[in-house]
């Protein structure tokens, strides 16, 4: 029988790629989970998947100009993602189109443009697949990118945290007292894009979006206020990543789906058993307070 500490620590001691994977997961948890909390508070959780398609023309143009260069395609993807995010945000804030329709319109435009570019070029190499990596293949450059993104995200969130919260809480009031609302909104969109694109590049689309949306959703059943939500979401993301890596290692299952399934499991269990989950909310209290 394997001793418990060997089962948990062994893989990381023995293999460099496991250590890199862990390091990358930590970076992504610290960065994507807080972004996911705000995404949830702003009711934009479905945006992640739309963005995955929206970045295609950027990656395609990067490929056309520079060949199969990951740097070029990642930069292209980020530019396309930012254009879609900010463009749809501008339209939503200044015309009668709302956020969800605006985003849908932009990402469909973007996606069809990307498909056209790729098809016309004639090469059936699956661009999107080449753009998406796996957590087991993180090299030094990828880790540097992930930790860089984490640094930028944490710093930016610290600065725009209050306007962002107020923009959700009472946007008219924010507009009365400060012009920062729009800036905070676009800054947040930019954070979303770079976290997603970097996540896709390093970890694949499933995990990048999953680690953003699921921890926040699970955390909702544990705590109420924004600060604790961020803390809880980050913790859940960290624990699930580590557990997922270990399960993938011992059970020989593909890593990304295991991590995301783990997160999903935490979400479901939280929904039922957590302090603000279904069971506790419905249970009859045996006594109540005097006043």
């Amino acid at each position: 029988m394997i001793a418990p500490d060997t089962a948990v620590l062994g893989p990381f001691i023995e293999f460099g790629f496991m250590r890199s994977a862990l390091f990358g997961c930590v970076a992504l948890s610290l960065s994507a989970a807080p972004v996911g909390v705000f995404l949830m508070l702003r009711r934009m959780s479905l945006m992640g998947d739309a963005m995955a398609h929206a970045i295609l023309p950027g990656a395609a143009i990067g490929y056309l100009l520079f060949g199969l260069s990951l740097a070029a395609m990642t930069v292209g993807g980020i530019i396309a993602g930012l254009a879609v995010a900010i463009g749809s945000g501008l339209v939503a804030r200044n015309t009668l189109i709302r956020e969800d329709t605006s985003l849908a319109a932009f990402y469909l435009l973007s996606l069809s443009l990307g498909v056209l570019i790729v098809s016309v070029r004639g090469n059936s190499v699956d661009l999107l697949h080449v753009l998406f990596g796996t957590v087991l293949a993180l090299d030094t450059a990828a880790l540097a990118l992930l930790w860089g993104i984490t640094g930028v995200t944490v710093a930016t969130l610290l600065v725009i945290r209050r306007p962002l919260i107020l923009d959700c809480l009472d946007p008219d009031f924010l507009r009365q007292v400060s012009g920062l609302g729009a800036l905070a909104h676009y800054g947040f969109l930019a954070l979303l894009v770079i976290n997603l694109v970097a996540g896709f590049h390093a970890l694949g689309t499933l995990m990048a979006v999953g680690i953003m949306v699921l921890p926040a959703a699970a955390a909702r059943f544990w705590v109420r206020r924004v600060g604790p939500l961020i803390g809880a979401a980050t913790t859940i993301a960290l624990l699930a990543s580590v557990a997922g890596l270990l399960v993938s290692y011992h059970a020989d299952w593909p890593t990304s789906p295991v991590i995301v399934l783990g997160l999903g499991l935490v979400y479901l269990l939280s929904m039922v058993f957590a302090p603000r989950g279904v069971l506790r909310q419905r249970s009859v209290r045996r006594s109540h307070l005097r006043a």
């Binding site: 790629f17 090469n123 059936s124 697949h129 993180l138 090299d139 593909p254």
Partner: protein, 317 residues
């Protein structure tokens, strides 16, 4: 005089008879015969047999990936105008059936792998992560389709191609048979060459890592062991255990040769290389030829290039 006339008449009746019994339209084909091959390697083989009498169009071109091929209208047009279509079979072209229907191709494609003893897919871990399920038309099932990696199989391919061309264009049959025979001689020489190249490598050293499960037939034919991380292929998800096992095996058996397939994701291979201290040894060509300027522009060139790269890598050169 009577005998001559009788022979003439007999010959005339015989030709008429031949005309009557051959499939309508096929006996009257004027060269060049329009043929379509599903992918570049097959295209090269058909050209070798058909010579100048056959005009070959390839669907999945050089450098492209047949696993994620999406037929476009131009492909349907080519197929519609073709007189004969060649496919590998063994589950390689999941998209072929639909394309033929769309293009309105009458008749069946010539499946060149008929008669070959198929191998099971190695490890059976050719998953598709569903990232883009609509684009993954590649269904191995349990069979490994890469039969062309063993030269004796290609000799069978040539035979089937020759038969297929004969059926479509009886008038050129002699030419096809002649070309096939000549090419088969070259293939036999190639086969001997490959065997000789491996003969100098001790069996214990005949181990390679590559990222795609494409070399099962080569392994069996020439006594070489290919290892691939489970799921480390064109479009499936890797598992930590699979990678770990591979790393351990490389270290234990001191494998020196690490190859990155030309159409696969190289990052995982590079990671394994970093972990074990091996430098990736370039590309092996498995599913497609290169274009005319590359080192694997024909089947013969491809096999020679692969073999040379492999033998050098395992000997640590």
């Amino acid at each position: 005089m009577n005998l001559h006339r009788r022979l003439h008449t007999l010959a005339a009746i015989a030709s008429l008879g031949a005309l009557a019994f051959s499939p309508p339209g096929h006996a009257q084909i004027t060269p060049p015969v329009k043929a379509v091959a599903s992918f570049s390697i097959l295209g090269d083989l058909v050209r070798q047999v058909g010579g100048e009498r056959v005009e070959v169009d390839t669907l999945v071109g050089p450098g492209a990936d047949a696993h994620v091929f999406q037929p476009a209208p131009s492909h349907a047009r080519k197929v519609g105008q073709a007189q004969v279509v060649f496919a590998n079979g063994l589950g390689f072209e999941g998209w072929m059936q639909r394309l033929l229907e769309t293009a309105g191709f009458k008749g069946k494609p010539v499946v060149v792998s008929e008669g070959i003893k198929p191998l099971r897919a190695e490890g059976d871990k050719h998953h598709h992560s569903g990232k883009n399920p609509a684009r993954s038309e590649h269904h191995h099932g349990d069979t490994d389709p890469h039969a062309w990696q063993a030269v004796p199989n290609v000799i069978t391919y040539i035979g089937n191609i020759s038969k297929g061309l004969c059926a479509a264009d009886a008038a050129g049959c002699d030419l096809y048979r002649k070309n096939a025979a000549a090419y088969t001689t070259q293939l036999q020489a190639l086969d001997a060459e490959i065997k000789a190249a491996w003969a100098v490598v001790p069996p214990a050293q005949r181990k390679l890592i590559t990222s795609h499960d494409a070399f099962g037939y080569y392994a069996k034919a020439y006594g070489v062991m290919f290892l691939a991380a489970q799921g480390v292929s064109t479009d499936s998800e890797a598992s930590a255990k699979g990678v770990a096992q591979l790393v351990r095996q490389i270290k234990k058996e001191q494998i020196k040769a690490l190859f990155v397939e030309s159409v696969a994701d190289p990052r995982l291979i590079e990671q394994i290389g970093r972990e074990t201290g091996i430098k990736p040894a370039g590309a092996l060509y498995s599913d497609a030829l290169t274009d005319a300027s590359g080192p694997a522009s024909t089947y013969l060139a491809m096999m020679r290039a692969n073999t040379q790269a492999m033998t050098r890598a395992v000997q640590g050169k």
